[in-house]
């Protein structure tokens, strides 16, 4: 009986100590902005070292933070005009894991999109991980674009479309998505065009335009 009483007393004292250590601070939770993400990118979100899964290391990372805020600046008006696209792009909505801009010519059906994968700041590593897990059987490593490693997840689509993903840092990748104009389907190689568009975007970002 003595033992039960002393156990009860110890429990009460313990609870008092625990509650005394707990302080409640008022405040509101805030989402992490992409700028904040940039400054703290030394490893993946789960503490994993980047790169992993065989992804190539990016020796000279490109600071894309400015273009993540406004992805429509990634291609200049002259560049998009040379691609037979509108001079100004439209910010895309509902982009999974990213922010993006689209330039679409509704007459020719030609389109280019630049999407920064800010929602998963692990660069190309998850793409290589997907490859090792066999998720994209047509995964292909492409020649470097402006000295940055690039891949395509599944090669050209049958309608003249392609997605090329470029690792511009160990913790940042962007997509160049293109749809060939209807006159060029079957006459141009979509992934080459997507690589060309990615190269133009990197040139713009290097210049800091």
């Amino acid at each position: 009986m003595v033992f039960r009483r002393s156990f009860l007393a110890a429990s009460i004292i313990g609870l008092v100590f625990v509650s005394a250590c707990t302080t409640i601070s008022p405040g509101e939770s805030q989402p992490v902005t992409s700028t904040a993400t940039n400054s703290s990118r030394s490893s993946g979100g789960n503490g994993e070292e980047l790169p992993f899964a065989g992804a190539p290391k990016v020796d000279d990372p490109l600071d894309t933070s400015r273009y993540e805020q406004d992805p429509c600046r990634a291609l200049t008006a002259d560049q998009t005009e040379s691609l037979n696209l509108p001079r100004t792009g439209k910010t895309m909505e509902n982009v999974a894991l990213g922010v993006g801009c689209s330039w679409r010519n509704s007459d020719t059906w030609g389109e280019a999109e630049i999407v920064f994968i800010v929602g998963d700041p692990r660069g190309l590593s998850p793409e290589y991980e997907s490859k090792t897990q066999g998720e994209f059987p047509d995964f292909e490593e492409l020649p470097k674009i402006e000295e940055y490693p690039a891949i395509t997840r599944k090669g050209p689509g049958e309608n003249g479309d392609c997605t090329v993903v470029v690792g511009v840092a160990d913790d940042m990748a962007f997509e160049s998505n293109i749809q060939l104009s209807r006159d060029n389907i079957g006459k141009k190689e979509p992934c080459q065009v997507a690589s060309q568009v990615a190269g133009l975007a990197i040139q713009t970002m290097k210049r800091g335009a």
Partner: protein, 137 residues
């Protein structure tokens, strides 16, 4: 639709479905009549729809970057089920994208053929070589 029918309308022949005066008949040959503006609107709608499916497909491909939260049985089972569901979803998006794209192409081809014929009739000259790649994307 008040324009002269032979110059401004495009007839898409659908054998044995409608009679020429619009009444339903399973036997007689007939046609739908579209103006050039109708055709352009239809093409735009199909192309927009294909584009929308394409964006959804790109979103789904990007989501493949996200992996199961842990290696325990429940997480792996859930990830497996989610992946199967994701694959079905991507198949559905791809089929619909292809279907809409092909519809847009069919209507565009019909319009191009009609306009080429009209152009040839009026000017007697060839248009730009249709088989060479165009500049840009």
């Amino acid at each position: 639709m008040g324009e002269p029918t032979h110059r401004d309308n495009i007839n898409a022949e659908l054998s044995g479905f409608f009679t020429s005066n619009g009444s339903r008949s399973p036997v007689a040959g007939g046609s739908f009549a579209f103006t050039e503006a109708d055709m352009r609107a239809i093409i735009k709608n199909w192309a927009d729809l294909a584009h929308s499916y394409q964006d959804s497909l790109r979103n789904a491909d990007r989501m493949a970057r996200i992996k199961p939260p842990a290696e325990d049985f429940a997480s792996r089972w859930h990830a497996g089920a989610a992946n199967r569901s994701g694959e079905s979803y991507k198949g559905y998006l791809e089929n619909n994208q292809n279907y809409c794209f092909k519809q847009a192409q069919l209507f565009q081809k019909a319009l191009d053929e009609y306009l080429d014929i009209e152009h040839a009739n009026v000017t007697g000259m060839n248009t730009t070589a249709p088989h060479s790649p165009q500049p840009g994307i």
